[in-house]
């Protein structure tokens, strides 16, 4: 069993958990993920490692409540336990001194991009951070990101904070300004990563994305997470989750991401009905 030692509500339906998992913390690196299961009836879901504390033996995850499992997770609090927590899975981000890099985090993608930006900066890169959210109250970790980057740029889709625009708008400006950028790392919702890739392709700027394909075991056993990259089938859990975004078949990914839509809708409707109300006030759904 794995204890939740800290919970923080970063934004509505956006939670941060710090989880006691010394075996995972010991080896965790930027870019890797864990798979967890809440209880014996639960499904296995992957979450990216947003931070780790080797000495304290904890892993930080940030997750958005989108369906049954993440809502049930969001209803847990400090001191509660998760039945299963396995990692660190996937390959770590490739970190070296490229010179100048841009790290883009959209929505909940800010969390996984944070440790990568930090590692790239520690490796001597000039790191331009770009983060964005739909609206002001969904934006989080601005200060944390600022400390991990050489420079941070912020935007909201609706203009409720700093400026109005998409991360791709800021990205275009940054690329135009900094002609010497040699790598872009972009993590966020699939459409965002796809948009980033079509933009950076125009500039021939190599772009790494972190793919969220549906997973079960996370060890290369089931093949559920397969994606087509450069015409070849790859397993996101062991060959990734990071890939060269210019080679990813995003169309196929988008189709595979919704394979279980009907079942997911049923599960979440049933959950919400059984748990009274559907808020993110951490009341545990009125239990």
């Amino acid at each position: 069993m794995y204890r939740i030692v800290k919970k923080e509500l970063l934004a509505p339906t956006l939670n941060l958990f710090e989880i006691e998992a010394p075996l995972v913390a010991r080896k965790a690196l930027a870019g890797q993920f864990v798979i967890l299961r809440i209880n014996g009836e639960g499904e296995r879901i992957p979450l990216t490692i947003a931070d780790f504390d080797r000495a304290g033996g904890t892993i930080t995850c940030v997750f958005q409540e989108v369906g049954k499992t993440t809502k049930e997770l969001g209803a847990l609090g400090e001191g509660d336990f998760l039945q299963d927590f396995v990692g660190p899975l996937g390959l770590p981000s490739h970190v070296e001194n490229y010179g100048s890099v841009i790290c883009v985090g959209g929505g909940v993608g800010v969390a996984p991009v944070f440790p990568i930006a930090r590692a790239l900066k520690e490796a001597g890169n000039e790191v331009v951070g770009i983060i964005g959210a739909r609206t002001k109250e969904l934006l989080f970790w601005e200060e944390k990101m600022r400390s991990a980057c050489s420079e941070l740029r912020v935007t909201t889709d609706d203009g409720s904070y700093v400026r109005k625009g998409f991360v791709t708008d800021l990205l275009r400006e940054a690329i135009e300004e900094k002609k010497n950028t040699s790598l872009c790392v972009a993590i966020g919702p699939l459409p965002m990563m796809r948009a980033v890739c079509s933009l950076t392709r125009e500039y021939g700027l190599k772009t790494i994305v972190s793919l969220n394909s549906i997973m079960v075991d996370g060890t290369g056993m089931c093949g559920c997470c397969r994606v087509t990259v450069g015409g070849e089938t790859k397993f996101a859990c062991v060959d990734g989750p990071e890939f060269d975004g210019h080679l990813v078949d995003f169309e196929e990914m988008a189709r595979r991401a919704v394979i279980y839509k009907p079942q997911e809708q049923l599960a979440v409707a049933r959950y919400v009905e059984n748990h009274g109300h559907n808020c993110s006030c951490s009341c545990g759904g009125g239990r």
Binding site: R37, G42, E43, D84, V216, C222
Partner: protein, 468 residues
């Protein structure tokens, strides 16, 4: 001198649940012999002096001896005799391909039905589970620590034997439960999970520690287990968990599963209880399973149980060449699984939404026997035809998962990625590191994996003796 025996030509039938009653649930299909039936079946054994049956058993169970004890109603003696060679009789009695192993060599099989060795074995093991497990003796602790990687039959057996010898064993398992394929692959209706878990509880009683959610190669490498964690030896029994594909177009379409995914969702994650259990599975109405082994049969039978209207086995050769256990093929057929023999898909078709719509297939005929004596299938020109399907399950084999082998210094593997190990000892190219089961042989059988675990335990014990 024993009297001349009267030969009983037919095997006592195994009571099974009615096909119509069993296809919509996961309860065990074969119910096991009654005491009366097991005594009658044991009575068929001729107690042959040379015991040809033993040479067909990969671990050389003393078959006439244990069957003789059954005849005397000494079930505890019989199970003791079985366990001298076979650590998991409740499992092997159910899943060994007896017709190509022990029973194939039974004297009776030349003219009549072979003695139902597996069924008698299962009876003894179930008797033990029902009547309390026989006391096991554990030697005093030696101070040696062994890490076992993977908790399939090879790892479980190796761990049990080492623990009995007084070594402290820790099993590291990547998934959230121990048991390997016995838990995530072979379905409940063929091998109840309670049977596997009883064996695992037994192991814990011997003092074996099992750490689940521990992927070796990720949280620690084999080298680190030895150098940093101080294990004196390591046994690698990580199986063959990497799914192969046919390498035909369309394999990444929605609705195409590997058998591993399909069976893992169903068995390990209990999708058949969705939404009480959270893991979803979409079965579809017309399911094609590509392949002809046990894995394919399990997938097809599972699909029917989960509501598919039709489940097809699509196999390149003919019925005779199918590697699946005969009993499973018969059960599958009784349950309504359909077979397309001498057929192989060339393409998986899908619609604009990327969902599977069917298979484009070629018909085959059997050509000349090859070096192995098997007649190899040859495609018939111009025989293309279409099979409409909305789910495809690829069950064309598995290879070794590279997570451990790629992260272990100085561990030699063959071209396919299997660890190279001495068949007599399980020793690998790396001192103190032993391996066995599917990761060495490629996808094989439970009994072979178990036997390899046992051999390695013996060799690890000897290795400790030599080192001191």
């Amino acid at each position: 001198m024993a009297q001349k025996k009267i030969i009983v030509p037919y095997k006592n039938p195994m009571p099974v649940r009615d096909p119509l009653e069993r296809v919509d649930n996961f309860n065990e299909v074969a119910l096991g012999y009654s005491e009366e039936a097991v005594l009658a079946e044991a009575g068929r054994c001729l107690q042959c002096k040379n015991a040809p049956c033993r040479q067909g058993c990969p671990v050389e169970v003393d078959i006439p001896a244990f069957i003789g004890l059954v005849s005397q109603k000494d079930f505890s003696g019989a199970i003791r005799k079985l366990k001298e060679k076979n650590a998991l009789p409740a499992v092997c009695g159910r899943v060994c391909p007896q017709e190509s192993q022990c029973e194939k060599y039974c004297t009776l099989s030349k003219k009549y039905d072979a003695v139902g060795i597996g069924r008698i074995e299962r009876y003894c093991a179930d008797w033990e589970l029902a009547n309390g497990v026989l006391p096991q003796t554990v030697a005093p602790l030696t101070g040696k620590r062994v890490a076992v990687v993977g908790s399939g039959p090879s790892g479980l057996t190796c761990a049990a034997d080492l623990a009995k010898l007084g070594h402290k064993v820790t099993i590291f398992e990547a998934l959230h439960v121990a048991g390997g394929v016995l838990m995530y692959g072979i379905p409940e209706f063929r091998l109840p999970k309670a049977v596997v878990q009883a064996e695992i509880e037994n192991l814990k009683k011997l003092g074996v520690e099992i750490i689940v959610n521990a992927v070796v190669g990720k949280f620690a490498t084999v080298d680190e287990l030895i150098e940093e964690e101080g294990y004196d030896a390591v046994f690698i029994g990580t199986g063959a968990g990497l799914p192969y594909f046919m390498q035909i177009p369309g394999e990444n379409a929605c609705g195409v599963y590997t058998a591993n995914e399909f069976l893992t969702r169903a068995n390990l994650m209990k999708s058949y209880c969705f939404p009480e259990y959270d893991t979803p599975l979409r079965v579809g109405e017309r399911v094609a399973v590509l392949g002809g082994g046990n894995v394919a049969m399990d997938a097809a039978r599972t699909a029917l149980r989960l509501g598919a209207e039709e489940a097809w086995i699509v196999y390149r050769r003919s019925r005779l060449e199918m590697p699946a256990r005969r009993e499973e093929v018969e059960h599958a057929e009784e349950e309504g699984v359909k077979f397309a023999f001498l057929t192989s898909p060339t393409k998986i078709l899908y619609n604009n939404d990327y969902w599977v719509t069917g298979l484009e297939c070629l018909r085959y005929e059997l050509g000349q026997p090859d070096a192995s004596g098997r007649r190899s299938p040859v495609p018939i020109k111009g025989s293309e035809f279409l099979m409409e399907m909305d789910t495809v399950i690829v069950a064309v084999g598995q290879g070794p998962n590279p997570l451990v082998t790629r992260t272990t210094r100085g561990l030699e593997c063959n071209k396919k990625g299997n660890i190279i190990a001495n068949p007599e000892t399980g020793a690998t190219s790396k001192p103190g590191v032993f391996a066995g089961g599917d990761v060495v042989t490629g996808a094989a059988t439970v009994i072979l994996a178990m036997g390899a675990g046992r051999i390695a335990a013996k060799a690890i014990n000897a290795y400790f003796g030599k080192k001191d």
